[in-house]
Protein backbone atom coordinates (compact mmCIF):
# COMPACT_ATOMS: atom_id res chain seq x y z
CA UNK A 1 0.00 0.00 0.00
CA UNK A 2 1.38 3.38 -0.93
CA UNK A 3 1.39 5.97 1.82
CA UNK A 4 2.04 9.57 0.77
CA UNK A 5 5.27 11.15 2.06
CA UNK A 6 3.44 13.74 4.15
CA UNK A 7 1.33 11.07 5.82
CA UNK A 8 4.39 8.94 6.64
CA UNK A 9 6.05 11.93 8.25
CA UNK A 10 2.84 12.67 10.09
CA UNK A 11 2.52 9.12 11.40
CA UNK A 12 6.20 8.91 12.41
CA UNK A 13 6.04 12.22 14.22
CA UNK A 14 2.84 11.28 16.00
CA UNK A 15 4.31 7.90 17.02
CA UNK A 16 7.53 9.44 18.39
CA UNK A 17 5.68 12.10 20.31
CA UNK A 18 3.14 9.60 21.63
CA UNK A 19 5.95 7.34 22.87
CA UNK A 20 7.58 10.37 24.43
CA UNK A 21 4.43 11.06 26.41
CA UNK A 22 4.89 7.75 28.20
CA UNK A 23 8.27 8.60 29.69
CA UNK A 24 9.19 12.20 29.03
CA UNK A 25 8.13 15.41 30.71
CA UNK A 26 8.07 18.74 29.02
CA UNK A 27 7.42 21.71 31.28
CA UNK A 28 8.02 25.40 31.50
CA UNK A 29 7.07 28.72 32.94
CA UNK A 30 6.91 32.27 31.77
CA UNK A 31 7.18 35.64 33.46
CA UNK A 32 6.05 38.70 31.55
CA UNK A 33 6.20 42.25 32.88
CA UNK A 34 4.96 45.31 31.07
CA UNK A 35 5.63 48.78 32.48
CA UNK A 36 4.46 52.15 31.30
CA UNK A 37 5.68 54.97 33.46
CA UNK A 38 8.52 57.01 34.75
CA UNK A 39 11.78 55.90 36.33
CA UNK A 40 14.15 58.21 38.25
CA UNK A 41 15.87 60.68 35.94
CA UNK A 42 13.55 60.03 33.03
CA UNK A 43 12.04 63.11 31.48
CA UNK A 44 9.20 61.28 29.78
CA UNK A 45 7.10 58.19 30.37
CA UNK A 46 8.53 55.00 29.00
CA UNK A 47 7.08 51.65 27.97
CA UNK A 48 9.07 48.51 28.54
CA UNK A 49 8.42 44.82 28.15
CA UNK A 50 10.38 42.09 29.90
CA UNK A 51 9.84 38.37 29.38
CA UNK A 52 11.57 35.26 30.64
CA UNK A 53 10.58 31.84 29.37
CA UNK A 54 11.99 28.71 30.98
CA UNK A 55 11.61 25.35 29.32
CA UNK A 56 12.77 21.93 30.39
CA UNK A 57 12.55 18.48 28.91
CA UNK A 58 13.17 15.40 30.99
CA UNK A 59 13.65 11.89 29.74
CA UNK A 60 14.59 9.24 32.29
CA UNK A 61 17.82 10.42 33.98
CA UNK A 62 18.50 13.29 31.62
CA UNK A 63 17.04 16.76 31.83
CA UNK A 64 17.61 19.59 29.39
CA UNK A 65 16.58 23.11 30.33
CA UNK A 66 16.86 26.55 28.77
CA UNK A 67 15.90 30.14 29.64
CA UNK A 68 15.23 32.85 27.10
CA UNK A 69 15.20 36.44 28.38
CA UNK A 70 14.22 39.53 26.48
CA UNK A 71 13.76 43.21 27.26
CA UNK A 72 12.34 45.84 24.94
CA UNK A 73 12.17 49.63 25.33
CA UNK A 74 12.24 52.51 22.85
CA UNK A 75 16.02 52.68 23.52
CA UNK A 76 17.92 50.04 21.59
CA UNK A 77 20.99 50.17 23.85
CA UNK A 78 18.90 48.75 26.73
CA UNK A 79 17.23 45.99 24.70
CA UNK A 80 18.20 42.38 24.27
CA UNK A 81 16.94 38.92 23.38
CA UNK A 82 19.17 36.31 24.93
CA UNK A 83 19.45 32.61 25.63
CA UNK A 84 20.47 33.39 29.19
CA UNK A 85 20.79 29.87 30.50
CA UNK A 86 20.91 26.26 29.38
CA UNK A 87 21.73 23.11 31.31
CA UNK A 88 22.18 19.43 30.74
CA UNK A 89 21.49 17.57 33.97
CA UNK A 90 22.17 13.87 34.43
CA UNK A 91 21.11 12.29 37.69
CA UNK A 92 21.40 8.66 38.62
CA UNK A 93 22.14 7.67 42.18
CA UNK A 94 24.81 8.25 43.50
CA UNK A 95 25.97 10.71 40.81
CA UNK A 96 24.62 14.03 39.56
CA UNK A 97 26.21 16.01 36.74
CA UNK A 98 25.38 19.49 35.45
CA UNK A 99 26.86 21.01 32.31
CA UNK A 100 25.94 24.57 31.35
CA UNK A 101 24.39 27.03 33.81
CA UNK A 102 23.85 25.81 37.35
CA UNK A 103 23.63 26.98 40.98
CA UNK A 104 25.98 25.86 43.73
CA UNK A 105 26.59 27.02 47.28
CA UNK A 106 29.42 25.62 49.38
CA UNK A 107 28.45 25.41 53.05
CA UNK A 108 26.85 28.67 54.18
CA UNK A 109 28.42 30.65 51.35
CA UNK A 110 31.72 31.87 52.80
CA UNK A 111 33.55 30.67 49.68
CA UNK A 112 30.87 30.32 47.04
CA UNK A 113 27.23 31.31 46.84
CA UNK A 114 25.05 31.32 43.74
CA UNK A 115 21.33 31.90 43.86
CA UNK A 116 18.09 32.54 42.03
CA UNK A 117 15.49 34.86 43.58
CA UNK A 118 12.43 33.41 41.91
CA UNK A 119 10.09 35.96 40.40
CA UNK A 120 12.36 38.95 41.21
CA UNK A 121 13.66 41.32 38.55
CA UNK A 122 16.71 43.52 38.83
CA UNK A 123 16.75 46.94 37.21
CA UNK A 124 19.91 48.95 37.54
CA UNK A 125 20.00 52.71 37.56
CA UNK A 126 23.13 52.99 35.38
CA UNK A 127 22.29 50.90 32.32
CA UNK A 128 18.49 50.98 32.71
CA UNK A 129 18.21 47.41 31.56
CA UNK A 130 16.17 44.79 33.37
CA UNK A 131 17.16 41.22 34.13
CA UNK A 132 16.11 38.18 36.11
CA UNK A 133 17.60 38.32 39.60
CA UNK A 134 20.03 35.48 39.78
CA UNK A 135 23.73 34.70 39.99
CA UNK A 136 24.53 31.38 38.35
CA UNK A 137 27.73 29.62 37.32
CA UNK A 138 28.52 28.64 33.75
CA UNK A 139 30.60 25.48 33.55
CA UNK A 140 30.16 22.03 35.01
CA UNK A 141 29.80 20.35 38.37
CA UNK A 142 29.60 16.77 39.46
CA UNK A 143 28.48 15.33 42.76
CA UNK A 144 28.84 11.89 44.27
CA UNK A 145 26.89 11.03 47.40
CA UNK A 146 26.20 7.94 49.45
CA UNK A 147 24.69 7.71 52.92
CA UNK A 148 27.53 9.36 54.84
CA UNK A 149 29.83 10.80 52.22
CA UNK A 150 29.47 13.63 49.70
CA UNK A 151 32.04 14.77 47.14
CA UNK A 152 31.66 17.68 44.70
CA UNK A 153 33.85 19.10 41.97
CA UNK A 154 33.05 22.45 40.34
CA UNK A 155 34.49 24.32 37.42
CA UNK A 156 32.93 27.46 36.05
CA UNK A 157 32.52 31.19 35.64
CA UNK A 158 30.15 32.84 38.14
CA UNK A 159 27.89 35.60 36.86
CA UNK A 160 28.46 39.19 37.94
CA UNK A 161 24.88 40.45 37.76
CA UNK A 162 25.88 44.10 38.23
CA UNK A 163 26.16 44.02 34.45
CA UNK A 164 22.87 43.38 32.61
CA UNK A 165 22.56 40.92 29.71
CA UNK A 166 23.28 43.66 27.16
CA UNK A 167 26.92 42.83 27.98
CA UNK A 168 28.61 39.62 26.94
CA UNK A 169 30.16 36.97 29.15
CA UNK A 170 33.63 38.49 28.72
CA UNK A 171 32.39 41.34 30.96
CA UNK A 172 29.78 39.49 33.04
CA UNK A 173 31.91 36.43 33.85
CA UNK A 174 35.46 37.51 34.59
CA UNK A 175 36.16 35.02 37.40
CA UNK A 176 37.05 31.38 36.88
CA UNK A 177 36.64 28.98 39.78
CA UNK A 178 37.86 25.45 40.32
CA UNK A 179 36.61 23.91 43.55
CA UNK A 180 36.35 20.59 45.33
CA UNK A 181 34.27 19.80 48.40
CA UNK A 182 34.18 16.71 50.62
CA UNK A 183 31.81 15.97 53.49
CA UNK A 184 31.60 13.01 55.85
CA UNK A 185 29.04 12.29 58.57
CA UNK A 186 29.72 10.10 61.56
CA UNK A 187 27.78 9.80 64.83
CA UNK A 188 25.50 12.74 63.93
CA UNK A 189 28.49 15.03 63.37
CA UNK A 190 29.42 16.22 59.88
CA UNK A 191 32.86 17.42 58.90
CA UNK A 192 33.48 19.05 55.54
CA UNK A 193 36.37 20.63 53.69
CA UNK A 194 36.74 22.60 50.48
CA UNK A 195 39.43 24.13 48.33
CA UNK A 196 38.66 26.83 45.79
CA UNK A 197 41.03 28.37 43.26
CA UNK A 198 39.94 31.70 41.87
CA UNK A 199 41.50 33.11 38.71
CA UNK A 200 40.75 36.49 37.15
CA UNK A 201 42.58 39.41 35.58
CA UNK A 202 44.18 40.20 38.95
CA UNK A 203 45.85 36.80 39.12
CA UNK A 204 45.04 33.63 41.01
CA UNK A 205 44.35 32.86 44.64
CA UNK A 206 43.53 29.66 46.52
CA UNK A 207 41.20 29.45 49.48
CA UNK A 208 40.52 26.65 51.92
CA UNK A 209 37.44 26.03 54.04
CA UNK A 210 36.26 23.58 56.65
CA UNK A 211 32.88 23.01 58.23
CA UNK A 212 31.82 21.20 61.35
CA UNK A 213 28.19 20.68 62.25
CA UNK A 214 25.95 18.34 64.13
CA UNK A 215 24.01 17.75 67.28
CA UNK A 216 25.59 17.75 70.72
CA UNK A 217 22.38 16.99 72.60
CA UNK A 218 18.81 16.35 71.44
CA UNK A 219 18.13 19.99 72.29
CA UNK A 220 21.28 21.57 70.86
CA UNK A 221 22.76 21.72 67.37
CA UNK A 222 25.70 23.71 66.00
CA UNK A 223 27.30 24.77 62.73
CA UNK A 224 30.79 26.23 62.20
CA UNK A 225 32.44 27.26 58.98
CA UNK A 226 35.91 28.77 58.56
CA UNK A 227 37.64 29.88 55.36
CA UNK A 228 40.85 31.71 54.50
CA UNK A 229 43.39 32.41 51.80
CA UNK A 230 45.86 29.52 52.02
CA UNK A 231 48.79 31.93 51.86
CA UNK A 232 47.79 33.63 55.12
CA UNK A 233 48.78 32.27 58.54
CA UNK A 234 46.37 29.57 59.71
CA UNK A 235 43.37 30.82 61.71
CA UNK A 236 44.70 34.38 61.65
CA UNK A 237 41.27 36.08 61.73
CA UNK A 238 43.10 39.39 61.72
CA UNK A 239 42.43 42.53 59.74
CA UNK A 240 45.61 41.93 57.75
CA UNK A 241 44.51 38.47 56.64
CA UNK A 242 41.88 37.24 54.24
CA UNK A 243 39.90 35.03 56.57
CA UNK A 244 36.37 34.48 57.78
CA UNK A 245 34.53 32.58 60.47
CA UNK A 246 30.82 31.86 60.87
CA UNK A 247 29.43 29.90 63.78
CA UNK A 248 25.93 29.20 65.04
CA UNK A 249 24.26 27.38 67.93
CA UNK A 250 20.62 26.37 68.20
CA UNK A 251 18.98 25.51 71.49
CA UNK A 252 15.32 24.55 71.82
CA UNK A 253 12.78 23.09 74.19
CA UNK A 254 9.04 22.42 74.02
CA UNK A 255 7.76 25.85 73.14
CA UNK A 256 10.83 27.98 72.58
CA UNK A 257 13.86 28.07 70.35
CA UNK A 258 17.02 30.14 70.42
CA UNK A 259 19.44 30.79 67.57
CA UNK A 260 22.87 32.27 68.40
CA UNK A 261 25.29 33.23 65.61
CA UNK A 262 28.77 34.74 65.47
CA UNK A 263 30.68 36.21 62.50
CA UNK A 264 34.23 37.44 61.96
CA UNK A 265 34.84 38.51 58.35
CA UNK A 266 38.15 40.00 57.19
CA UNK A 267 38.97 41.03 53.61
CA UNK A 268 36.72 38.36 52.17
CA UNK A 269 35.15 39.71 49.00
CA UNK A 270 36.18 37.09 46.45
CA UNK A 271 36.49 38.13 42.81
CA UNK A 272 33.54 40.11 41.56
CA UNK A 273 31.52 38.86 44.53
CA UNK A 274 31.23 35.10 44.04
CA UNK A 275 30.72 34.49 47.76
CA UNK A 276 28.28 35.83 50.33
CA UNK A 277 28.95 35.21 54.02
CA UNK A 278 25.74 35.08 56.11
CA UNK A 279 24.72 38.61 57.12
CA UNK A 280 23.61 37.85 60.69
CA UNK A 281 21.28 40.81 60.49
CA UNK A 282 17.57 40.09 60.52
CA UNK A 283 15.90 40.43 57.15
CA UNK A 284 12.59 42.02 57.98
CA UNK A 285 9.45 41.76 55.90
CA UNK A 286 8.14 45.08 57.24
CA UNK A 287 8.68 47.83 54.67
CA UNK A 288 10.41 50.43 56.84
CA UNK A 289 12.72 47.83 58.36
CA UNK A 290 13.44 45.93 55.16
CA UNK A 291 14.54 49.20 53.59
CA UNK A 292 16.83 49.86 56.57
CA UNK A 293 18.53 46.45 56.57
CA UNK A 294 22.23 46.64 57.37
CA UNK A 295 24.15 45.18 54.43
CA UNK A 296 27.02 42.93 55.48
CA UNK A 297 30.54 44.20 54.66
CA UNK A 298 32.76 41.12 54.20
CA UNK A 299 35.80 43.41 53.98
CA UNK A 300 35.55 43.91 57.74
CA UNK A 301 32.65 42.86 59.93
CA UNK A 302 32.42 41.17 63.29
CA UNK A 303 29.31 40.59 65.31
CA UNK A 304 26.58 38.43 66.75
CA UNK A 305 22.91 37.76 66.23
CA UNK A 306 20.57 36.19 68.75
CA UNK A 307 16.96 35.33 67.95
CA UNK A 308 14.49 33.85 70.38
CA UNK A 309 11.07 32.37 69.54
CA UNK A 310 8.52 31.66 72.24
CA UNK A 311 5.17 30.04 71.55
CA UNK A 312 2.40 30.63 74.08
CA UNK A 313 -0.31 28.11 74.93
CA UNK A 314 -2.88 30.15 72.98
CA UNK A 315 -0.82 29.86 69.79
CA UNK A 316 0.62 33.36 69.86
CA UNK A 317 4.33 33.70 69.10
CA UNK A 318 6.87 36.16 70.48
CA UNK A 319 10.06 36.82 68.50
CA UNK A 320 13.01 38.74 69.97
CA UNK A 321 16.14 39.59 68.00
CA UNK A 322 19.37 41.34 68.87
CA UNK A 323 22.08 42.12 66.35
CA UNK A 324 25.50 43.68 66.82
CA UNK A 325 27.84 44.33 63.90
CA UNK A 326 31.18 46.13 63.99
CA UNK A 327 32.72 47.45 60.78
CA UNK A 328 36.29 48.67 60.96
CA UNK A 329 36.75 50.80 57.87
CA UNK A 330 38.19 54.34 58.04
CA UNK A 331 36.92 54.19 61.63
CA UNK A 332 35.04 51.69 63.76
CA UNK A 333 31.29 51.66 63.21
CA UNK A 334 29.02 49.85 65.66
CA UNK A 335 25.59 48.74 64.40
CA UNK A 336 23.07 47.66 67.04
CA UNK A 337 19.49 46.52 66.59
CA UNK A 338 16.82 45.30 69.01
CA UNK A 339 13.62 43.84 67.55
CA UNK A 340 10.46 42.44 69.10
CA UNK A 341 7.39 41.01 67.39
CA UNK A 342 4.27 39.51 68.86
CA UNK A 343 1.78 37.70 66.63
CA UNK A 344 -1.54 36.47 67.87
CA UNK A 345 -5.07 35.63 66.75
CA UNK A 346 -8.22 37.28 68.07
CA UNK A 347 -11.40 35.20 68.38
CA UNK A 348 -9.65 32.41 66.53
CA UNK A 349 -9.76 34.14 63.16
CA UNK A 350 -8.33 37.68 63.21
CA UNK A 351 -4.54 37.62 62.80
CA UNK A 352 -2.56 40.48 64.36
CA UNK A 353 1.14 41.31 64.46
CA UNK A 354 2.78 44.05 66.47
CA UNK A 355 6.43 44.97 66.14
CA UNK A 356 8.95 47.34 67.68
CA UNK A 357 12.52 47.93 66.57
CA UNK A 358 15.32 50.17 67.82
CA UNK A 359 18.65 50.54 66.03
CA UNK A 360 21.81 52.63 65.86
CA UNK A 361 23.23 52.58 62.34
CA UNK A 362 26.35 54.75 61.96
CA UNK A 363 26.96 53.25 58.51
CA UNK A 364 23.86 55.07 57.26
CA UNK A 365 24.31 57.95 59.73
CA UNK A 366 21.00 56.98 61.38
CA UNK A 367 20.86 57.76 65.11
CA UNK A 368 18.15 56.42 67.43
CA UNK A 369 16.22 54.72 64.63
CA UNK A 370 12.90 53.70 66.14
CA UNK A 371 10.30 51.74 64.20
CA UNK A 372 6.95 50.30 65.17
CA UNK A 373 3.86 48.97 63.49
CA UNK A 374 0.72 46.88 63.55
CA UNK A 375 -0.60 44.41 60.98
CA UNK A 376 -4.16 43.18 61.28
CA UNK A 377 -6.12 40.74 59.12
CA UNK A 378 -9.87 40.68 59.82
CA UNK A 379 -11.79 37.73 58.48
CA UNK A 380 -15.20 39.20 57.67
CA UNK A 381 -16.76 36.29 55.80
CA UNK A 382 -15.54 32.81 54.99
CA UNK A 383 -12.44 33.36 52.87
CA UNK A 384 -12.83 37.16 52.81
CA UNK A 385 -10.18 39.10 54.69
CA UNK A 386 -9.76 42.83 55.17
CA UNK A 387 -6.32 43.98 56.24
CA UNK A 388 -4.98 47.24 57.65
CA UNK A 389 -1.25 47.70 58.22
CA UNK A 390 0.58 50.70 59.60
CA UNK A 391 4.32 51.26 60.04
CA UNK A 392 6.16 54.21 61.52
CA UNK A 393 9.85 55.05 61.65
CA UNK A 394 11.89 57.95 62.92
CA UNK A 395 15.62 58.66 63.26
CA UNK A 396 18.04 61.56 63.29
CA UNK A 397 20.59 62.09 60.57
CA UNK A 398 23.17 64.87 60.93
CA UNK A 399 20.94 66.44 63.58
CA UNK A 400 17.79 66.44 61.44
CA UNK A 401 14.79 64.27 62.38
CA UNK A 402 13.34 62.06 59.67
CA UNK A 403 9.87 60.48 59.74
CA UNK A 404 8.62 57.64 57.53
CA UNK A 405 5.03 56.36 57.47
CA UNK A 406 3.48 53.44 55.59
CA UNK A 407 -0.21 52.59 55.50
CA UNK A 408 -1.61 49.64 53.60
CA UNK A 409 -5.28 48.70 53.33
CA UNK A 410 -6.29 45.58 51.49
CA UNK A 411 -8.87 42.97 50.77
CA UNK A 412 -8.38 39.42 49.62
CA UNK A 413 -10.63 36.54 48.84
CA UNK A 414 -8.70 33.35 49.72
CA UNK A 415 -5.61 33.27 47.49
CA UNK A 416 -7.79 33.89 44.44
CA UNK A 417 -8.04 37.65 44.42
CA UNK A 418 -6.45 40.52 46.28
CA UNK A 419 -6.42 44.28 46.10
CA UNK A 420 -4.57 46.81 48.22
CA UNK A 421 -3.68 50.47 48.39
CA UNK A 422 -0.28 51.56 49.68
CA UNK A 423 0.47 55.07 50.89
CA UNK A 424 3.87 56.19 52.08
CA UNK A 425 5.27 59.48 53.24
CA UNK A 426 8.77 60.58 54.19
CA UNK A 427 10.66 63.64 55.33
CA UNK A 428 14.03 62.06 54.46
CA UNK A 429 16.22 64.80 52.96
CA UNK A 430 18.14 62.20 50.94
CA UNK A 431 15.15 61.55 48.70
CA UNK A 432 13.50 64.99 48.57
CA UNK A 433 13.16 66.76 45.27
CA UNK A 434 13.74 70.51 44.91
CA UNK A 435 12.19 72.37 47.87
CA UNK A 436 9.97 69.56 49.14
CA UNK A 437 9.60 69.18 52.90
CA UNK A 438 7.68 65.92 52.68
CA UNK A 439 7.20 63.38 49.95
CA UNK A 440 4.19 61.12 49.32
CA UNK A 441 3.67 57.92 47.35
CA UNK A 442 0.28 56.48 46.51
CA UNK A 443 -0.21 53.19 44.68
CA UNK A 444 -2.64 50.32 44.28
CA UNK A 445 -2.06 46.62 43.65
CA UNK A 446 -4.45 43.96 42.41
CA UNK A 447 -3.84 40.28 41.83
CA UNK A 448 -6.01 37.58 40.32
CA UNK A 449 -5.18 33.89 40.14
CA UNK A 450 -6.87 32.70 36.95
CA UNK A 451 -6.15 29.07 37.80
CA UNK A 452 -3.38 27.14 39.52
CA UNK A 453 -1.01 27.87 36.63
CA UNK A 454 -1.71 31.48 35.70
CA UNK A 455 -1.64 34.66 37.78
CA UNK A 456 -2.10 38.30 36.80
CA UNK A 457 -1.01 41.23 38.95
CA UNK A 458 -1.44 44.92 38.24
CA UNK A 459 0.15 47.92 39.92
CA UNK A 460 -0.81 51.53 39.33
CA UNK A 461 0.49 54.72 40.93
CA UNK A 462 3.79 55.58 42.60
CA UNK A 463 6.16 53.11 44.21
CA UNK A 464 8.91 54.14 46.57
CA UNK A 465 12.30 52.72 45.67
CA UNK A 466 15.38 52.21 47.78
CA UNK A 467 17.27 49.30 49.27
CA UNK A 468 15.34 46.04 49.46
CA UNK A 469 16.20 42.60 50.73
CA UNK A 470 14.55 39.42 49.56
CA UNK A 471 15.39 35.80 50.29
CA UNK A 472 18.62 36.86 51.96
CA UNK A 473 19.88 39.06 49.12
CA UNK A 474 19.83 42.87 49.18
CA UNK A 475 19.54 45.08 46.13
CA UNK A 476 18.31 48.48 44.99
CA UNK A 477 14.77 49.03 43.76
CA UNK A 478 14.09 52.06 41.56
CA UNK A 479 11.30 54.54 42.21
CA UNK A 480 8.48 54.04 39.73
CA UNK A 481 5.38 55.99 38.76
CA UNK A 482 3.00 54.48 36.23
CA UNK A 483 1.29 51.21 35.44
CA UNK A 484 2.76 47.73 35.66
CA UNK A 485 1.25 44.46 34.50
CA UNK A 486 2.75 41.11 35.36
CA UNK A 487 1.60 37.72 34.12
CA UNK A 488 3.14 34.51 35.42
CA UNK A 489 2.31 31.21 33.75
CA UNK A 490 3.29 27.61 34.22
CA UNK A 491 2.74 24.87 31.66
Amino acid sequence: MHIPMNNRLLHTLTLILTLNILNAQFQGNNLLEYQHGELPGDTATLSSLYDRASLSYKFNSVKLSANVEQFHTPYTDRNYVKLSGYTLNYKTKPIELNVGHFYETLGRGLLLRSFEIQGALLEDISYRSKQYFHRDIFGANIQYRNNNFTAKAIYGKPLNNLYPPIFGDTIRRTDIIEAAYLEYTIMRQTIGGAALRLTNRNGAATYGMFTLSGRLFPWMSYYTEYAQNVNDPAFALSKKSSSTLYSGFNIFANNWGLSLEYKNYNNFILGAGINEPPALVKEHTYKVLNRSTHVVQPISEQGIQAELYYSFANGSVLTLNNTIAINTLAKELLYREYFAEYSFTLNGKHDTKLFFDYAEDPFKLEVGRTSAGAYTDWQILSGSVVSANYEFQTFRRTGVSVFNHVFIAGYNYKSKFNISVVTESSTDGYIMKNNETQRFWFGANAGYKINSNNTVTVFGGQRRGGPACQAGVCYEVLDFAGVELRITSRF
Binding site: L13, Y309, S415
Partner: protein, 159 residues
Protein backbone atom coordinates in the same frame (compact mmCIF):
# COMPACT_ATOMS: atom_id res chain seq x y z
CA UNK B 1 -0.05 21.85 7.27
CA UNK B 2 -1.05 18.55 8.87
CA UNK B 3 2.49 18.10 10.17
CA UNK B 4 2.39 21.49 11.82
CA UNK B 5 -1.01 20.63 13.29
CA UNK B 6 0.37 17.32 14.60
CA UNK B 7 3.32 19.08 16.22
CA UNK B 8 1.05 21.63 17.88
CA UNK B 9 -1.33 18.92 19.12
CA UNK B 10 1.55 16.77 20.37
CA UNK B 11 3.25 19.63 22.17
CA UNK B 12 -0.09 20.56 23.73
CA UNK B 13 -0.55 16.93 24.79
CA UNK B 14 2.94 16.88 26.26
CA UNK B 15 2.41 20.12 28.07
CA UNK B 16 -0.83 18.98 29.66
CA UNK B 17 0.67 15.65 30.69
CA UNK B 18 0.68 15.38 34.49
CA UNK B 19 3.99 16.25 36.06
CA UNK B 20 5.54 13.56 38.19
CA UNK B 21 7.79 13.81 41.23
CA UNK B 22 10.97 11.74 41.00
CA UNK B 23 12.57 10.50 44.15
CA UNK B 24 14.80 13.14 45.73
CA UNK B 25 17.02 13.30 48.78
CA UNK B 26 17.38 16.28 51.08
CA UNK B 27 18.78 16.82 54.54
CA UNK B 28 16.27 17.02 57.36
CA UNK B 29 16.70 19.70 60.02
CA UNK B 30 18.99 17.34 61.94
CA UNK B 31 21.34 17.20 58.93
CA UNK B 32 20.54 13.63 57.89
CA UNK B 33 19.75 12.83 54.25
CA UNK B 34 16.19 11.60 53.83
CA UNK B 35 14.76 10.06 50.67
CA UNK B 36 11.33 11.23 49.51
CA UNK B 37 10.33 7.64 48.73
CA UNK B 38 10.90 6.59 52.34
CA UNK B 39 8.59 9.19 53.86
CA UNK B 40 5.92 9.81 51.22
CA UNK B 41 2.28 8.89 51.92
CA UNK B 42 0.87 5.62 50.61
CA UNK B 43 -2.15 7.35 49.09
CA UNK B 44 -1.30 11.04 48.97
CA UNK B 45 1.58 13.33 49.83
CA UNK B 46 1.34 17.05 50.52
CA UNK B 47 4.58 19.00 50.08
CA UNK B 48 4.74 22.55 51.39
CA UNK B 49 7.62 24.70 50.11
CA UNK B 50 8.23 27.47 52.65
CA UNK B 51 10.76 29.92 54.06
CA UNK B 52 11.04 31.58 57.47
CA UNK B 53 10.94 35.11 55.99
CA UNK B 54 7.67 34.45 54.13
CA UNK B 55 4.65 35.75 56.05
CA UNK B 56 1.94 33.65 54.31
CA UNK B 57 4.15 30.57 54.88
CA UNK B 58 3.99 31.19 58.63
CA UNK B 59 0.19 31.48 58.45
CA UNK B 60 -0.08 28.20 56.57
CA UNK B 61 1.99 26.10 58.99
CA UNK B 62 -0.64 25.71 61.79
CA UNK B 63 -3.19 24.72 59.13
CA UNK B 64 -0.78 22.15 57.69
CA UNK B 65 -0.33 20.76 61.18
CA UNK B 66 -4.12 20.27 61.23
CA UNK B 67 -3.99 18.61 57.80
CA UNK B 68 -1.29 16.27 59.10
CA UNK B 69 -3.27 15.40 62.24
CA UNK B 70 -6.55 14.91 60.35
CA UNK B 71 -5.21 12.76 57.53
CA UNK B 72 -2.21 10.87 58.90
CA UNK B 73 -4.40 7.84 59.61
CA UNK B 74 -5.71 7.93 56.04
CA UNK B 75 -2.24 7.32 54.57
CA UNK B 76 -1.69 10.96 53.71
CA UNK B 77 1.73 12.40 54.51
CA UNK B 78 2.67 16.07 54.85
CA UNK B 79 6.26 17.12 54.14
CA UNK B 80 7.66 20.61 54.63
CA UNK B 81 10.54 21.65 52.39
CA UNK B 82 12.26 24.68 53.85
CA UNK B 83 14.09 26.87 51.34
CA UNK B 84 15.82 29.38 53.62
CA UNK B 85 19.19 30.49 52.28
CA UNK B 86 22.42 30.80 54.27
CA UNK B 87 21.27 34.10 55.79
CA UNK B 88 18.39 32.63 57.76
CA UNK B 89 19.10 28.88 57.72
CA UNK B 90 20.18 28.92 61.37
CA UNK B 91 16.70 30.01 62.46
CA UNK B 92 14.83 27.13 60.86
CA UNK B 93 15.28 24.46 63.52
CA UNK B 94 14.33 26.70 66.49
CA UNK B 95 11.34 27.94 64.49
CA UNK B 96 10.18 24.43 63.55
CA UNK B 97 10.41 23.49 67.20
CA UNK B 98 8.60 26.59 68.46
CA UNK B 99 5.79 26.29 65.93
CA UNK B 100 5.36 22.64 66.88
CA UNK B 101 5.56 21.31 63.32
CA UNK B 102 4.63 17.65 63.58
CA UNK B 103 5.39 16.53 60.02
CA UNK B 104 8.88 15.94 58.56
CA UNK B 105 10.75 19.07 57.49
CA UNK B 106 13.52 18.84 54.89
CA UNK B 107 15.89 21.63 53.90
CA UNK B 108 16.71 22.76 50.36
CA UNK B 109 18.97 25.80 50.52
CA UNK B 110 19.55 25.90 46.75
CA UNK B 111 15.83 25.27 45.96
CA UNK B 112 16.82 22.37 43.73
CA UNK B 113 13.59 20.42 44.21
CA UNK B 114 11.41 23.49 43.83
CA UNK B 115 13.19 24.51 40.64
CA UNK B 116 13.09 21.00 39.22
CA UNK B 117 9.31 20.99 39.72
CA UNK B 118 8.93 24.30 37.91
CA UNK B 119 7.66 26.13 41.03
CA UNK B 120 8.50 29.72 41.83
CA UNK B 121 6.36 31.15 44.65
CA UNK B 122 6.31 30.92 48.46
CA UNK B 123 4.44 29.17 49.84
CA UNK B 124 3.61 26.56 47.23
CA UNK B 125 1.75 23.44 48.19
CA UNK B 126 1.61 20.42 45.90
CA UNK B 127 -0.53 17.31 46.20
CA UNK B 128 0.98 14.09 44.86
CA UNK B 129 -0.89 10.83 44.34
CA UNK B 130 0.36 7.27 44.81
CA UNK B 131 1.60 7.18 41.20
CA UNK B 132 3.87 10.16 42.01
CA UNK B 133 1.79 12.48 39.82
CA UNK B 134 1.17 16.06 40.90
CA UNK B 135 -2.59 16.35 41.01
CA UNK B 136 -2.86 19.86 42.45
CA UNK B 137 -0.69 22.94 42.88
CA UNK B 138 -1.62 25.81 45.18
CA UNK B 139 0.40 29.02 45.46
CA UNK B 140 0.10 31.47 48.36
CA UNK B 141 -1.90 31.17 51.53
CA UNK B 142 -4.77 33.24 52.80
CA UNK B 143 -7.38 32.48 55.48
CA UNK B 144 -10.00 30.27 53.86
CA UNK B 145 -7.47 28.29 51.84
CA UNK B 146 -7.33 25.64 54.56
CA UNK B 147 -10.87 24.53 53.64
CA UNK B 148 -9.82 24.27 50.02
CA UNK B 149 -6.81 22.14 50.97
CA UNK B 150 -8.93 19.81 53.10
CA UNK B 151 -11.60 19.43 50.41
CA UNK B 152 -9.00 18.78 47.71
CA UNK B 153 -7.43 16.01 49.79
CA UNK B 154 -10.86 14.47 50.50
CA UNK B 155 -11.66 14.63 46.81
CA UNK B 156 -8.42 12.90 45.82
CA UNK B 157 -8.86 10.25 48.49
CA UNK B 158 -12.32 9.44 47.16
CA UNK B 159 -11.04 9.05 43.58
Amino acid sequence: MRIITAIIISIFTLSTHSQTVDNFELKNIEGKYISYNTIKGKKLTVIDFWASWCKPCMKAIPELNSVYNNFKDKEVQVIGVNCDGPRSAAKVEPLVNTLGIKYPVLTDMDKTVMTSLNLSAFPTLILINSANKIVWIHEGFSPGDEKLIHSKIEQELSN
